[in-house]
Structures are given as C-alpha cells and as structure tokens.
Symmetry: D3
Subunit: 219 residues, 6 copies
C-alpha cells in the first residue's frame, strides 16, 4: 500500500493529470491518492473571503475544490478506481477493501491536504507517502529568494518541523505542516517529496528506490 | 415559496454574488435557490473530456462544480440558510421544513441545471421560478447574430419548447430545455427569465410584479 | 457490461419474475438491471392523485413502487447480486465494483424508468441496453388500434424520437422517451426492445446475436 | 405526543386514507404515525416466497411495502409533515425535533409493525398509542368463528400477552405481539385498540377520552 | 457462512479478545460476528438511569457500548475484516459481499444482542450460530443457586423458550430470549452455546463437530 | 452561541453529569457541547494497543468512547437537545439550525477533542469556548510536581502554544494543543479554562463575566 499526494497545482494542466493517470494505473500496488485544491481552491476561497465568509466556510470551499480535482483524477483513472472521491477516512479504508485505488480530497476544516495525506497514509497502513509537490524537495532556505538555497536530500521529520516553526520557509505550508509530520512520525511512515511537475519522479521512487527530491524520515 | 435559478456565470464575479446574497437575504418568502456550474464547470469538463472521461463523469464533474458555486452562495447568505448545498430533491424538501433558504447545485447526470430548477420548484411547491440567466429574456432569433432579434415578453412553454426543438436558438440550452418546460407545465409553474447580470431585476419581479425579461407561461 | 430494463408489468406475474431470475443468473457478463413500477405504481399513484398529492409525491410513490419490484428481483437473484436495490447512479456504479449484478428502480421525480435505464447504461459503460418491454418491438402505428401496423426491426434513435414527438404512438412512453434516446445517442449505446413476456428473447439477443424485437441504433 | 398505528388494510381504500389524513391534520398534538404493510405487503411477500426468497428478504419486502403506504400518507398530510417516511427510530426522533408529524413504516426484519409502533411510541415519549386496527378491539375468542365472542373493554398487557401465547386468538398477530406488549409495559404506555375502518374512533379517544374499542393497560 | 456471538463479558479481558481474534482469523469460512455490550454497557446504562434517561436512551447507550466492543474486535482482526462495525442488517449483508468477516454490535432499542445475533445469522444465511456466552451451556436450573443443576446437551428451541417464559432461569436473558429463538426456528438455524471464557470451544464446534456446551435445535 | 468542552473525566461521575445537564439546560443561549473520551477511552485504547491495533484504530476507538459520553449527556439534557451525538462538523452546524443544543464527541483520527472543540466553536460562530477541564486553569509549571506553580489568569494563545511546545507542561495535551490554539486565534475566539469538577464555574463565566480559571486570549 502506497499513499500518493498530488499537489493541487497539477490539476491546472490536464495533460499533466493524464500523465499521472497513466503512471498511477501502471502501479500494481494498492494506492490511496490525495488531491490538493490548487488554483480553483484559491480562487473560490478568495471570492468567499471578499464576500465575508467565515473560516469554516472558507475551508469547506477549499475542500469542495479539492474534491473537484479528485473527480477529475477518478475520471481519468478508469475502471480500477473507487468511482467517486472518498469523503472520510472511513470511506477510504472501506473502499480499499475491494478497489485497488481510491482518491480523496480534503476532509475537514482546519486541516491542510498535507495532513489529510498523512492521516490517509496512516489509516490504510501505507509503507510510504510520496508527495508530488509544487517544489522539487526541501530546501535549507527559500529557493525563490535565495539562489544559494540548497536542496536537502534527507531530513528528519523533527528537523523539518523545527524549520517550519521558525518560518524560515515561507510557502511550504502545502508541502507539510507540523501536524502532518507528527502523524507520520507516530506511525513511522517515510515521506518522499518529489517535483509534482515531473510525473516520472514518482516511478523513480517506486521502481528504482531512487530519491529524486527529499526524503523525510519519520523520526 | 419561490424558486430562483442563478446562472453559473454569476459566480465568475464575486461582487455579483455578494449583491445577490444581499437581495436574497432581504426576501421574506422561503427560497429554493439553484446554482449553475458556469465557467468552472466548463473548464473542468473540458479537461475531463481531453483526458477521455465518459459522459457520466463529465456530468458528475459539472455537478460538483455547480456545488462549489452553491457553497459560495451558502457562505454569503449567512445564518438563515441551510448550511450546505443540498444534494437531492429530498434533502431540499426536508431542509425547507426548518430553514427559509436552501441552495442546491446539479443533482444527476443527464440533466441540465435548468431542469433541476424546474424539479426543485415543483418539489417545494414554488409559486414561480425566477431564472436569473445569462441573457435578458427569450428572443425570436439569436441576438448575438441577428441585430434585429426581438425579445418576447410573454411566451407559452409549449411555444418555447417548439423553438428549442427547431434549434433556432443556439446556446439557450442553459436557459431552458424541453424537459424543464414539461415539468413547469405539468405543475403549472410560471417562469420569469431575467438578466442575471442585473440582480435587482429579481426584486422587480417579486416586489413590483414587473416583467423585466420574459415570462414563460406554463401552458 | 449489459444493462437490462424489465417492464413493471413483468412483476405482476411471480412465475415470470422467477424465469427472469434464472436467465439473468445464467449470464456471465456483469449486469445492471432496471425495474419499472408496473401495476403497483399505477395503483398507488392513482390513489395518491385521488387524495390530492402533487407531482413530486406522485413520482416519489412511483419510484418507491419500482423499488418494491427491485426488491423482489434481488430476493430472486440469490447471492451474486448487490443485496438491495440501489437508490442512486453513484450507488449502482460503486456496487458494480464488487458485485456482478445490481438492481435499481426509479431514481428521481420527473424521470421515466426508461430514462433511468439509459442513464444507468451510460454510467456503467454498458455495451447495450436490452429493454424487456410491454410490447414486442417498435411499430409504425399503434398495433392495438391498427391491425396493419408493422413492427420495425431497426430504427434510428432520432427517428424514434420524432415518432414519439408526433404522438403517433400512444402508450409507448414506458418504452422510451425523448430524453432516454438522447442519452443513448450521446453515449452510443444500442437498445434492443424485446417482448418482456417472453424471457428467452433476452437470451436470443445475448447468445445468438438475434434481434427478436426492434433494435434502436444510437444515431 | 401521541403515537398512532394505522393498519395496512386502511391503505387498500384511498378514501379511507384521505379521511385519516384530514383527521390527523386536525390534531394539535405532535404525532408519530406508523403504517402497516397490508395487502400490498402480503401480495409481494407471497410472490417472493413462491420464488424461494429467504426470511430476511421476505421481511425486507414487507417493510418496503409498508413504506409505500407511508409515502401515500405523507403525500396526503400536506406541508406539516416530515416529507418522507422515516427509516429508523433515530430519524423519527430527530424529525420530530422540528416537524409536528412523522410517518414511519417497518424498520427491521423479524419485527411486526405492532412492535415498531411500540418502539416508536417509547422513543418519542408518547403518552399513548392508538392502534387503528383491522378489528374493533380485543375479544375473548375469535369473533370470526365464535358468534358469542365478547369484546373486552379493558385488558392488562400481561393478560393480553398470555392470551396471545395461548394461541387462542388467531390472526391477532398484527394487533399486538408479545414483544410490543413488553415495550409498552416497560415504558408505561397505554394502548387503545380501535376499529381502523371508522376513522373518527381516533378522535373519540383523543377528544372525548372515550374507549370505543379496547384499552390495553401497560401492566 | 457462520454467525458467532461474543458475550460482552469477553471484552473485559483484552487477552481474551486477542485469543478470539487469533481463532476467528484462522477460520476459512465467512463470519458474521456479533458483540455484546458487557460491563461497559451496564456501567453506562446504570449511569444514564441514575440521571433519569428513558428506555430509548438506555438502549441506545447499550448499543453504543456494544459498538465500542465491536471496534476493539475489528482492530484486532486485521486486514480481512470490514473495517468498522456495521450498524444495520443491510450493512452486514452488503459488507459480506466483499469481505470475509464483519463485526456488528447492537442495532435497535428493545432488542437484546442475542436477538441481533439471530437476525444477523438469518440475514446472512448462516448455517449455524455459535453463541460464546457467559455460561457454558443451558442448565435445567440456575447453576449459581442450585448445585445440582444439570447442563442440557441438546434442547429444542421451543423447550428453551418455555423455560425462559417460566422464569426458571434468571440471568439467561443475555443467552437467548423468546424472540431470538423464534427467528432461529423460522430460519432453521441451530445454535451452539459454548463457554465464552474458553475460546477454543469455538474451534471444537467448527473443526471437530463437537458440542462442548449445549445445542439448541431450531424446532 | 457558546461552545462548551466537557473533560472526559466528568463522565466518570454520573452525579457530575447530572449537575452539568441541569446547568446547561438553564442556559438560554445556543450551545455546542464537546465531550472528551475520559477513562473509558483510555481503558479501551490501552486494550486495543495491547492487542496490536494501529494508530488509526486507537483513535477511532477513542472517538467512539467520546461518543458514548456524548450519548450520556444527550440522554440527560432532555427534549431541547439534538437527540444523538453529531458525528461531523456539518452535522453540528445543520443541527443547530433547529435545536438549541447539540452534543458532539471526537470527529477524526489524529485530533484531540480540544481541537474538535476549537473547530466546533469556529464552525458555529461561538463567541467563546468554555473548557471545563481536568485542571482549574493554566499554570506556569506542572502543579502536580511543583507546589510553587502559579495559575496564570490571562494568557495569550501564542504564549500558551510556546509553553506547550517547550514541553514544560506535561499532561496538558487534553487542555489544549497547538492546533486548537491556532484555530481559536484565526477565528478570534477566547477560551476560558475552568475546573471541570466544579460545574458552577461555567455559570460564573457566563452569568457574572468572572474568570474563575484562566482566560486564553486569541492572540
């Protein structure tokens, strides 16, 4: 059992979704796939905020947008997938009792899809979580600002949590947050962070045991 | 009881959604509000089609997009609304048993939101359906092509159905389709078609008994 | 995957239901089976109308009656069937993920079970819809009135739709309606209409590739 | 809060259903109404038995038939009723939180609707259960066989249970069974048994405190 | 298909639960497993009664406690079990369509888990019900009071029902009640009563065809 | 609207539950009440851990235990409460549309009931969260170890989060965690922490505007 998180950004490009669908369909092992909300979520949340919606509704709207992305992936994955996005951890676990692939978006307000990914990985007993992110790995500084920022191949979850708390890495909220790291640690699930814009990095991890991005150890 | 259909296009403009929220909140009578899928639906359906999704999934994705619009309106309508989009006619009817306003998007594949609007209006016993459309009324020809096309103030549903069948009016699928007109006729529900880009037309119908667009008689 | 529509009339005769159960159980291919409401639906709808029920309730009662027929078939089909009637397209699709046979009655007000059959066929990706009807095929005139009416072996869906619109064929509403034909056309699903009172006609279509009634081409 | 059980036989006669709807609508107090399966249930159960269905399915089919009767009553009761039959005790209790009237048919295999009526009465805290039965009261012998059988105006539940166990009263299964009487006893709910073919007996009990049939004391 | 009832008492001892999990996991045949409420149910019901809760809530609380025990067993049974307690007969039957083991606690107020066990056994078509009870069989008198009470190896359900009615066997309510016996009789399901504190008695029945406790014949 | 969190420990003492029921029933304002899992949760989680259950199941079992406590409170609160524990934020929000009081236990694995309380408070728009805890306030050191530990009357959420991170306060996980504090901050909801063993402290906050424990400012 593998858990795969797809950044919401991937869904801005249908060709990329199709590539992922082809790759995911070629994997023999069972898969729980978590989709982010991406630009649709951001656009709708912004609209809702301009209208005065409270945080509960902002988050519900983001969840609904991530489900729209999940529907797109379900439609692309063909007959061997649970035929709708799951809407609770229990549904993910139940559906994987008879289907090899299940797709799920957000689940609850106050929770990033990074956290959903960790909770899903834990619930289904995944041996690893592959996070196809909007960045190609963990950096020691913000690479969009510091040209000397270096990618860190292997990092402990506890170290990454400390980096996140220090706010040294703006914009990495989507990548992982403190809570998701705690879940991965308590259930000893390693997380690979790979570049979501390069779908075959997913296969590199699975087929070659390579680490094309960063590996977060559950320590 | 009034049923109000909001064109999906309205949701491209948050300011317009806010105006509608203000107007709808000012109406004393109970309201069942149906939201279209708009540009989000079109974009996702197009993406799904390019990936090879079948019609069932294309329609489910359109429904999901219309629910995203419904969430936006729910968030804008504040405490006197059923706090999530209904997902079946039974839920609409049940929710209106204790809340004055309920919002609903699409319901089922193979069905336009125009038809959903007619079915909702029938189920809740609405005395009229106000269709805030992407056009300001019914025309005798396609106004985008024929500058001499004239708006028809009053038209029988049977006449409009004949016009739709003759394909003389391209692009009016969203406005009404044959099935939605049959539902309105069998339950004797008049439909006002008004310009969705001018929210106060809704009030003109309700408060002044005016007909700023076209009135479709259930005959 | 095959979709089979059973006319509600079949359920007036338990022996006929048993024959169908035996035949359907002998088919290897996966099956989505749609049951009509028949005389129970008519009797209850008539009662409800005499009491003053509105169209929403009349249709809900017809749906409930078709589910009673669906229960009867489920009970007759034994262990290889999803053990209750499905109540939504999503449930049909999900249940066929692990069971070879699923039974479903009506789904929503304003919809004939002919339309449900077409929508189900589309959703499950059926390669054909076999309509075990209350008549043995499509006629060029009403055979109950015109002794010279001739059965049409092959007809295009567009032609049949035109015939239905012209009202030349009273009582064929159950057989097919305009909307069901549109669904079949858009998803390219051929429909065989066979005599529901002769269960082995179903096998003739499936096993021999014969056309004992009429074939409606999705054109 | 009052619980009213309507014999399934009542639903064979739409005019009788209409009379009950009028009477029930005139009652100010909150109402939980339980409908039996009647002749539709018997006909379908017989058909299912002839097809070889097991007891689970026979009972599910009887439950579904009682829900069809419940739908008919819901349609007749108009806007002040929960707009669909409840399908669990929890739904009955929840629905009575905002609607004055709720209708429910059978709930579970292995359970008479007499027992459902007692459980519903207990769950909603009814001060009495009025059983509009297929007989006008409790008799000391089978009145269809013994012309000297006498109606018993007041009987203790424990006595009635003993009579039921002795099988002295064939055909009274629908009226009450041992389990339903235990529920009424443990929650101290008196049951009036009145003639279901005479709707105003219901009002006699409620408005005049009369006992036109038999009163079963919860002792 | 086998139905196994586990006395709630078993769940007071985690080591015993683990033993049962090991044994149940070793059985090839499909299993429907019913869990009692045990001491947790008793403690909460007593608390609720002291607070003045009515019988509906007392029973719902007992049901919820039996589900807590069911969760514990689900967690112990590993990947080949439906991953949550079922909450209705329909869910039990549906889940056994793709999982070999399903666990269920109580279902409805007014019903012992002994009755749930009989209904589940009937619904799933079990060839026997093995009742791992809080006693090692049926006795001809209360063994806790009469040292000469003798265990009865084989008893007819009708005899046991008569014994239960005579109140000669206090405290056996959990073992079986009149209603559960009627269900077993009507569906011809034999019930073995074995000592729940000795898990391998379950295997003795299944593997050796032995009768280490009492056998209740469905007559 | 007020949100009230009741420590699971409260449910060890039925008399205390009854006191809380009386107090909560006397409050005019709408209430969302969150119950912890307490000793039942701990006992079952320990049992499950000894059997080898994974974290997903440990948490689900804790959630189920908190729902058992929620049932107890629902039973004690009488007719003005939503008649069962809510099981999702959406159900909480929907139920408060027609009932003045709703009770909810845990919602999802990986989440403390402290976090549930914050999310519920946010979703329902509570003006404050009153946390009836297992301690009488926030201390600057562990009061069970350091007799000189001082209670802090007012503390900023950001300060409390820093204290929690520094692990200076063992055992306060139940009181609040970092995530719950973030939710309170983003939605500007103050939290009063009061001694759960002294129910009238709840009234002191509500009626007198007093601060008998600690006030956590959403800053």
């Amino acid at each position: 059992m593998i858990a795969v998180k797809l950044s919401g950004r991937i869904f801005d490009d249908p060709a990329l979704v199709r590539e992922y669908a082809t790759i995911l369909s070629s994997i023999e092992e069972s898969l729980a796939i978590i989709t982010g909300g991406g630009s649709t979520a951001r656009r709708y949340i912004e609209a809702a905020r301009s209208i005065g919606a409270n945080n509960y509704f902002l988050d519900m709207i983001g969840i609904e947008a991530s489900r729209l992305n999940a529907w797109l992936l379900v439609a692309a994955l063909g007959p061997d997938v649970y035929p709708r996005p799951a809407t609770s951890l229990e549904e993910v676990v139940t559906a994987l009792g008879y289907k090899r692939r299940v797709v799920v978006g957000g689940l609850q307000p106050g929770q990033s899809t990074a956290t959903v990914a960790a909770l899903v990985a834990e619930a289904v007993g995944a041996r690893m979580l592959i996070n196809c992110a909007n960045i190609d790995g963990v950096y020691d500084d913000d690479p969009s600002k510091n040209p000397n920022a270096r990618k860190i191949p292997i990092v402990k979850a506890s170290q990454l949590a400390a980096m996140l708390r220090s706010n040294a890495l703006p914009g990495t909220y989507e990548l992982a947050d403190v809570w998701s790291l705690e879940v991965l640690r308590r259930s000893k699930i390693p997380m690979y962070i790979v570049d979501g814009r390069t779908p075959n990095h997913l296969l590199k991890v699975l087929r070659e045991g390579a680490n094309p991005g960063s590996l977060v150890l559950p320590e």
